[in-house]
């Protein structure tokens, strides 16, 4: 089951996907990532200031995707790596996002609370177009 994202749709989210640009709610001051129409914290404000997140965070939870579990756009990664870890990362500004973990010495060395930092990597390739985005590595 792939989640096909068209190129124009991917393109619209480039600042968020390439360098973690989120939005700071002008009313409650909380950081929304990914960006929302209405602040998900105070549920009342739609006014935001763009804010570049630091990319630093910790592993909130993680799992390891093995063999057939990978969506088709990640088939290439599954072919090369066999298994690869995916984590919920709690960013230091608050938001929790899902992303792959890379440059991990051993799968067993991943732990909840592990400090990580964002890295710019290829997410997948479709229609001959490389989709870049953020993954995390041990900090």
């Amino acid at each position: 089951m792939g989640a096909h994202i068209s190129i124009p749709m991917y393109q619209r989210a480039i600042p968020q996907r390439y360098r973690l640009v989120g939005q700071k709610c002008v009313k409650c001051g909380k950081v929304n990532f990914p960006p929302k129409a209405v602040c998900k914290y105070c549920l009342s404000s739609a006014e935001f200031a763009p804010v570049k997140l630091s990319g630093r965070g910790t592993v909130y939870s993680y799992t390891v995707i093995a063999g057939g579990g990978a969506p088709p756009e990640f088939a290439e990664i599954a072919r090369c790596k066999g298994r690869y870890p995916v984590a919920l990362v709690q960013l230091e500004e608050g938001p929790v996002i899902i992303a792959q973990l890379v440059d991990v010495p051993e799968e067993e060395e991943i732990f909840i609370g592990m400090p990580v930092e964002a890295v710019f990597r290829k997410i997948y390739e479709e229609e001959g177009v490389i989709r870049y985005g953020i993954k995390f590595r041990p900090a």
Binding site: P15, K52, I77, C80, D103, K122
Partner: protein, 335 residues
Amino acid sequence: MSVSVVSYGVYLPYLRLKREEYISAWGSCSAEIKEKTVMDVDEDVLTMAVAAAKDALEHIEAEQVSVLALASTSFPYQEKVMAGTIMEALGLPSDVLATHHGHSTLAGTEALLTACSLLAQAGGKYALVVVSDAPSASTAQDIEHSLGAAACAFVLAKEEPGLVLEGAYGYVSEVMGVRYRQAGERGIRDIGVRSFAAQAYTRAVEAAVTGLLKKLECSSEAYRHVVLHYYDLRTTASLGKRLGFSEEQLKGGLVYERIGDTGACSTLLGLCQTMENISPGDRVLVCAYGAGSGSQAVGFVLEQEKPACKTPLSVLLEKKRYISYTHYLKLKGVI
């Protein structure tokens, strides 16, 4: 107007392949490497470029970058403005004056020298030079054994203390069949006549280095570090000697043995390595070479402060995980 390197960043992929893997798979390793860097399946020249550039910009405001010079022999696209990827990933201003350099291992110094000139034209404070490379060849060819991957990035500024560029000297000549790749091909190849290739290399590097020394009215002893494009241990060492450089001067920038051939990045990685052992007043000479052929020698002097660096090369050399040759072939898409 003086231009200086005020900060730099280096990136090495986390994965490494040892020499022994070639020996057990092929019976020998044709490259004088102990190990080499290997990109993971989700890395390419642009992702490495972003990583090195991010480190170089650690204490620099991205909004103040007005020039972006990008270099590689192995960009992921043959046609596309790839500065856009870098600009978005780093949050550079969209009015940055951007250039792309490729086509030979000279691309790195080309980018550096172009950025220096453009910085004089551009209004902004900084120029960012990003050199990232991962040359490739068919795994059935000897030339493939040496090929590694790495990136380095330099922030240049006008009239600031740092590693000041003192001058450059270029040389080109027509040499056929040494290291080349026809349009549409993925891998480099050569006609395999080593003595012919070594001669062309020696002639080009010698011309640029002697030209630069003469132009700057410097003797060979004036340089603390000399980084010559690496050909092979014997050829490069004997050329260094012929040019009047001592082993001491030449060893500070040797990185080939633990990284491999990183194409356009090679000599500039050597420059980064010398930054870990340099004092104010020291001079560094770098000479890049591209088969076909051409060479560019660049002279620097350190004025006051060393360029800032977040993670030095010596630290990155220790951050690694070894892979098997089978895994390597999977990454190369062979199996």
